[in-house]
């Protein structure tokens, strides 16, 4: 067991996989010599050399196209898109090409690509560098979507993503980078499609993702003070989705909340809410409630950004009021 920051866990997880598979390569802007603009790839160039860790031009379509072409001809690839907002400039490769090629070709091609990207708000970067776009990816058939909330999950889910033969979009949260936690020694390989109950409870289920997980946990702590026992689920993997964990929990608690950083409309929480409102309808004892960033572009000013993302206060208040 060693303590690792979420930031360092990224390079640690990648290194584990690059040592295992000598074919695995990585490319992206400023990832090599500079160690990444978020310092998430420090040390990888030194260990694996410039053939396997490659700096690219600012050409996101070319980056992901190269990843896809290499992957479909036998070389697994990790590609970095520096900010998840930039998926927009290469969205065709992600949504129309990588996601669909296996199906369209009747199963002739595999696309073992992991697209790593820095997601989410809290850095006062404004509307074009702070988005939570995990729902952009969840809605595309053919993409797997993962968003870890802890250093250990970064390592384990990275391994699972790299070893998965399908394209996986791997969301690293900018505001979690500095946080530290224990990471077990030895090879760590997690499983996609598995949520984790991070706090058990009996009165309501709160599904959260990435930065929202610690906030939901803190809110649950406070709710406990009011005698409300909240179960908190770290969804971890949006596709595949661990619906069993979610439905099982609602079966127990009869109340369902989501805490989403993506803006409201068509967020991942809407999907979960719709599943619960269908399949767990008879278990529910009250409305299904979503706590989301409002449906606005994210503002830059500290004061405004802090009002936008779901806060511990907002989670706490919403659950308390609606469960009363």
């Amino acid at each position: 067991m060693a303590e690792l920051s979420y930031r360092d866990a990224v390079a640690y997880g990648i290194a584990q996989e690059m040592r295992r598979d000598p074919h695995l390569v990585m490319l992206g802007e400023d990832i090599g010599a500079a160690g990444g603009v978020f310092k998430t790839t420090v040390g990888l160039l030194d260990e694996f050399g410039p053939d396997r860790i490659r700096d690219t031009p600012i050409s996101e379509q070319a980056i992901l196209g190269a990843a896809m072409g290499a992957a479909m001809t036998g070389i697994p690839v990790i590609a970095e898109i520096m900010f998840s907002d930039f998926l927009a400039v290469c969205w065709d490769i992600v949504a129309n090409q990588m996601a669909k090629s296996r199906y369209m070709t009747g199963g002739q091609v595999s696309i073992p690509v992991v697209i790593r990207t820095l997601n989410g708000g809290g850095s006062r970067f404004g509307a074009q560098h702070s988005q939570s776009v995990e729902n952009w990816c969840m809605m595309i058939p053919g993409l797997k979507v993962v968003a870890p909330s802890t250093p250990a999950d970064v390592v384990g889910l990275m391994a699972a993503s790299v070893r998965d033969p399908d394209p996986v979009v791997f969301f690293e949260h900018k505001s979690l980078l500095a946080g530290k936690a224990e990471v077990p020694d030895g090879e760590l390989v997690d499983e996609l499609g598995t949520a984790r109950v991070v706090r058990e409870g009996t009165d309501c289920t709160i599904a959260a993702l990435a930065l929202m997980v610690p906030r939901a946990l803190e809110a649950a702590e406070r709710l406990a003070g009011d005698g409300i026992s909240a179960e908190v689920i770290d969804v971890r993997s949006l596709v595949p989705l661990d619906t069993q964990a979610l439905l099982g929990s609602v079966g127990k608690t009869s109340h369902f909340y989501t805490v989403e950083e993506n803006p409201r409309l068509c967020g991942w929480g809407a999907e979960l809410a719709s599943i619960v409102a269908d399949e767990a309808f008879w278990d529910l004892d009250g409305p299904v409630i979503r706590i989301t960033t409002p449906h606005i572009p994210l503002p830059a000013a500290e004061a405004l950004e802090d009002m936008s993302l779901p806060s511990v206060d907002r989670i706490y208040e919403t659950v308390r009021k609606t469960l009363a």
Binding site: A70, V77, Q97, M104, V109, P141
Partner: protein, 357 residues
């Protein structure tokens, strides 16, 4: 509202001056190409021509649903490259990909069956005409959104470079594709990494219905952009299989030797419209006529005769190709529509489509 605006082109494109083909370069006859290869290119062009004519007939009989984009008139490009490639090389094409798929050796029956949306189609009916792929023949797919596959071809070339094999990737695309962003990113990327990739613009002078010169800042939309990536701007007669084979072989050799990418503009013309229903009326009549006279296949037929191939041999090839196309048609018609069991397979490598447990 001012009307001092620069006119983006003549109002009625069919009234614009024709862009005529260049004269046949008879010296291409003297290129050092083995006669056997030439006969193969003849046969391949026959296959492409007869196959697509049949596809057109089947469309007229309402057996081909959806859309299809034919290469009729453009066969010399696919044939020239088909011969210049090694079986383990990679091809990437557009929605106009029948010719390139067949040129790599895919069986005609499953390709035809795919156009008919049958279970015995090369993609089990899931992809259709615009997405033909035959990985076993190095044909890595047909891509229907303009530009993407140039970047994907880079990846295949990169993989070859990483493995240290000397495989080459070739990406075919149209003149219209030279104005999209992915073209630019792909070319620069290939150049800086010295990737073994050959970019082949099939300049048929039109995007869908709009003449390429109306929307391009330079006369040769591909070749004139080569220098922006440190590449030569190579223009070749796309109606002459020998000329294509010649530049293709050079570019492929260069890539194999580790000397990086090439950009080739093959000027050609489609005999029909852009896609199934298009009569192509936006083209000046004299232009269409001139290009039909420059049909690559009769021209090549003539050349082979001049090179001493007996007329009878060529007739026998035509005949045998006709038989193969007939067989492919029967094979295709014999396939059933894909059943529901296919709907949910092949989204994931594990076989299925489940997004939940």
């Amino acid at each position: 509202m001012s009307t001092e605006v620069h006119d983006p082109g003549a109002y009625d494109y069919s009234q614009r001056p024709a862009r005529l083909p260049v004269d046949v370069d008879h010296s291409n006859k003297d290129l050092a190409i083995p006669l056997q290869d030439r006969v193969e290119m003849y046969e391949l062009q026959q296959v492409l021509r007869q196959f697509e004519k049949r596809a057109y007939d089947l469309f007229m009989q309402n057996l081909v649903k959806g859309t299809s984009h034919l290469s009729l008139g453009m066969e010399a490009v696919a044939a020239g490259f088909g011969l210049a490639l090694r079986p383990d090389d990679y091809s990437f094409a557009t929605y106009r990909g029948h010719a390139h798929t067949i040129a790599r050796g895919a069986a005609l029956g499953p390709v035809m069956a795919e156009l008919l949306g049958r279970e015995n189609g090369i993609l089990k009916g899931k992809g259709g005409s615009m997405h033909l792929t035959s990985v076993e023949h190095g044909m890595m797919g047909s891509y229907a959104i303009i530009g993407a596959h140039l970047t994907i071809a880079n990846g295949a070339a990169w993989a070859a470079q990483l493995r240290g094999t000397d495989q080459v990737a070739v990406a075919f695309f149209g003149d219209g594709t030279t104005n999209i962003g992915a073209f630019h990113e792909a070319l620069n990327f290939a150049a800086i990494w010295d990737l073994p990739v050959v970019f082949v613009c099939e300049n048929n002078l039109y995007m869908e219905y709009t003449p390429i010169d109306v929307v391009s800042a330079v006369p040769n939309p591909a070749a004139d952009r080569g220098p922006a990536y440190g590449l030569d701007g190579i223009v070749v007669d796309g109606n002459d299989a020998d000329a294509v084979f010649h530049v293709a072989s050079q570019a492929v050799a260069r890539a194999r030797a580790g000397d990086g990418p090439s950009l080739i503009e093959a000027v050609t013309y489609r005999h029909g419209g852009h896609s199934r229903a298009d009569p192509g009326k936006y083209r000046p009549a004299d232009e269409v006529e001139a290009w039909l006279e420059r049909d690559p296949i009769p021209m090549y037929h003539q050349r082979l005769l001049e090179l001493g191939v007996p007329e009878g041999d060529l007739a026998a090839i035509q005949q045998s190709v006709a038989g193969r196309v007939e067989d492919a048609t029967e094979f295709a018609k014999g396939g059933s529509p894909p059943g529901e069991e296919h709907l949910f397979t092949d989204v994931w490598a594990a076989g299925g489509s489940a997004w939940r447990n």
